[in-house]
């Protein structure tokens, strides 16, 4: 089973929930993926022993100046303006290239080959008996999605079909989130009971509905703000899976990089209960 954790709004507690869930179900085989490749934080809490660091590249065109006759076809077909053809030279803008391969495929003279351009790394290791994989986007790179895709593919290759995969996604509602949650059996949306939390929760719900992924909500810092998130969930028939109270002690543990379930053992039961509820809801 693949369970992703997303939120819309940042800083609501995705990593806290993903890490705590994973640590609470260790009687199962667990695979943990940090797909927030722009700002991967799960390793701060899980302290994995990284055994392998794999560079991740996207293919970008290289022009063979001998074969090229500057016909301009590659620039014409490129949807991302990553190529410009001058009378005696072809300029490649690798940061704009999405790696679709169109120029290579369509060059009439076979003058284009593709070479890898590193956009980040994939770090593979073990933590608390779990398999752990995280992506880390190189600073200055604009496109996280190919890296997230690489992490998901690597995880698929290594995964025992009986294992539970927990995915920590990035905030927002655009392409990196879609790539991280795609294909999951269930998505936990973490929110907080504030107008910001609600606004961004509603956006995230729309994304997941569009992708057809069943979802439930965790309300973090429950007790602060107002109860409009509750009303929203009720109106939209979204189960509230868990509430974590607004508690300074939890905030301090978080600040130190300590998962709540390691210090407050009662939360392990709560997270196991949440897991059971998710499994039951998927059987219906």
């Amino acid at each position: 089973m693949i369970i992703s954790v997303a939120s819309g709004k940042g800083g609501t507690g995705k990593t806290t929930i993903a890490v705590s869930l994973a640590l609470s179900i260790l009687e199962e085989e667990v695979q943990f993926l940090d797909c927030d490749v722009e700002e991967p934080n799960a390793s701060i809490f899980l302290k994995p022993r990284i055994k392998e660091v794999v560079p991740v590249s996207i293919p970008v065109p290289r022009i063979d100046q001998e074969k090229c006759d500057f016909c301009g076809k590659c620039a014409e077909v490129c949807a991302y303006h990553a190529l410009a053809v001058l009378p005696q030279e072809v300029l490649v803008f690798p940061h704009l290239c999405h790696g679709c391969g169109g120029c290579n495929l369509l060059c009439p003279r076979g003058a284009i080959t593709e070479v890898g351009r590193e956009i980040g790394t994939m770090e593979i290791g073990r933590s608390n008996g779990m398999d752990f994989i995280q992506g880390r986007l190189n600073v200055g790179e604009a496109m996280p999605t190919p890296l997230i895709r690489a992490v998901r593919e690597e995880a698929k290759k290594r995964r025992n079909p009986a294992a539970v995969t927990v995915i920590d996604a990035s905030p927002g509602t655009s392409c990196p989130v879609v790539e991280a949650v795609k294909g999951s059996d269930f998505c936990i949306l973490v929110t907080e009971p504030t107008p910001f939390g609600l606004n961004d929760l509603a956006l995230a719900v729309e994304v997941l509905r569009k992708l057809g992924i069943p979802l439930g909500v965790v309300i973090n810092r429950s007790g602060m703000g107002n109860d409009k998130v509750d009303f929203y969930c009720q109106e939209n028939h979204i189960p509230i899976l868990l509430r974590i109270p607004f508690d300074r002690e939890i905030a301090v543990l978080y600040s130190q990089g300590i998962p709540i379930v390691q210090r407050k053992k009662e939360y392990m039961e709560k997270f196991r209960g949440m897991m059971n509820r998710i499994q039951e809801s998927l059987l219906i």
Binding site: S7, G10, G11, E38, N41, M143, T173, S255
Partner: protein, 309 residues
């Protein structure tokens, strides 16, 4: 006109709360919300929309079932897993489908389809709004659900906001940035005079602050740091100060944890207009520091390398 961008790396550190307060303090700013896929600034500034523009960006492939001969060529060439083969019960190919969410509009399938069964359609990816608020004009946007090209929409929001600021002769453009370090953040950093990094004294906050500070440095943008909820963990607050000292980044404000912030959110106003407490005092001091930093080094700043896009 000076452009101040609020970013954080990590989400939820207080970018929008701070941006809204700066908007209230600046008196005569143009405001822009560049967190286009989870925009929240409007919840505090209550813009009245004067003009809505459609944001068309990129294309998506559409397949004509009548013409398609199920040859599978597009299936083998698409690198974005956007083309799906629906199978019959006996395993034979029933139909080719294109997933509009996964399609990145590269046109490879369009160019290579042997029977021209694929056409490209322009994509309506979002909306851009030009609005009025009691604090000044505001440009904001809404990215379509599960759409891409958020970087381009950010660029458009900023362009509009700059145009308005220049036409109206406004002294400030204050921009609420997106979390992370990817394309929307890179787009938001363009032509910025000062990037304010809001962080919090948590290990995650520190880690993410360093990544986004590296990004700003990479594009030659001047940064200053604000430590929000500084009293949650003083050891970490000191650690942030040390890191900033080493990187020669000024820590321009220490904001205490304040329940008044949560209450101001529920009421929907910038906290500086809600509270008379320490939080308002700290933010006001911080704003005065920003103002005077431009007064004292205004000439120098404009000569500094700006991120050019």
């Amino acid at each position: 006109m000076k452009q101040v961008l609020v970013i954080s790396g990590k989400g939820g550190t207080g970018k929008t709360v701070l941006t809204s307060s700066l908007a209230a303090l600046a008196k005569g700013a143009v405001l822009a919300d560049c967190d286009v896929d989870a925009a929240d600034l409007h919840l505090l500034l209550h813009p009245v929309v004067a003009e809505t523009q459609e944001f068309w960006s990129g294309q998506k492939a559409i397949i004509d079932d009548e013409q398609c001969i199920n040859c599978g060529r597009c299936l083998s060439l698409c690198r974005f897993e956007a083309i799906k083969a629906l199978k019959n019960q006996d395993g034979s190919l029933k139909k080719i489908e294109i997933d509009p969410v996964a399609c990145e509009g590269c046109r490879v399938c369009y160019y290579t389809c042997p029977v021209d069964a694929i056409r490209m359609e322009d994509r309506l990816s979002g909306q851009l709004f030009i609005s009025e608020t009691k604090y000044g004009p505001m440009v904001h946007a809404k990215l379509g659900i599960a759409e891409e090209n958020s970087g381009k929409l950010v660029t458009l929001v900023k362009q509009k906001a700059q145009e308005i600021a220049e036409a109206d002769g406004k002294p400030w453009l204050i921009v609420d940035g997106p979390p992370g370090i990817g394309c929307p953040v890179i787009a938001a950093l363009a032509r910025v005079d000062l990037a304010l990094i809001v962080t919090e004294p948590t290990l995650s906050g520190i880690h993410d602050m360093e990544r986004v500070a590296d990004l700003a440095a990479h594009f030659g943008v001047t940064t200053k740091v604000v430590i929000n909820k500084c009293d949650i963990n003083w050891d970490n607050t000191r650690a942030i100060e040390k890191i900033c000292q080493k990187r020669e980044i000024e820590v321009i404000g220490h904001l205490p944890f304040s329940e008044e912030v949560v209450r101001s959110l529920s009421v929907g106003v910038p906290v500086v207009e809600f509270s008379l407490g320490a939080i308002t005092e700290e933010i006001s001091t911080l704003w005065r520091k920003i103002e005077s930093s431009f007064q004292s080094e205004g000439v120098v700043l404009s000569d500094k390398k700006k991120a050019g896009f």
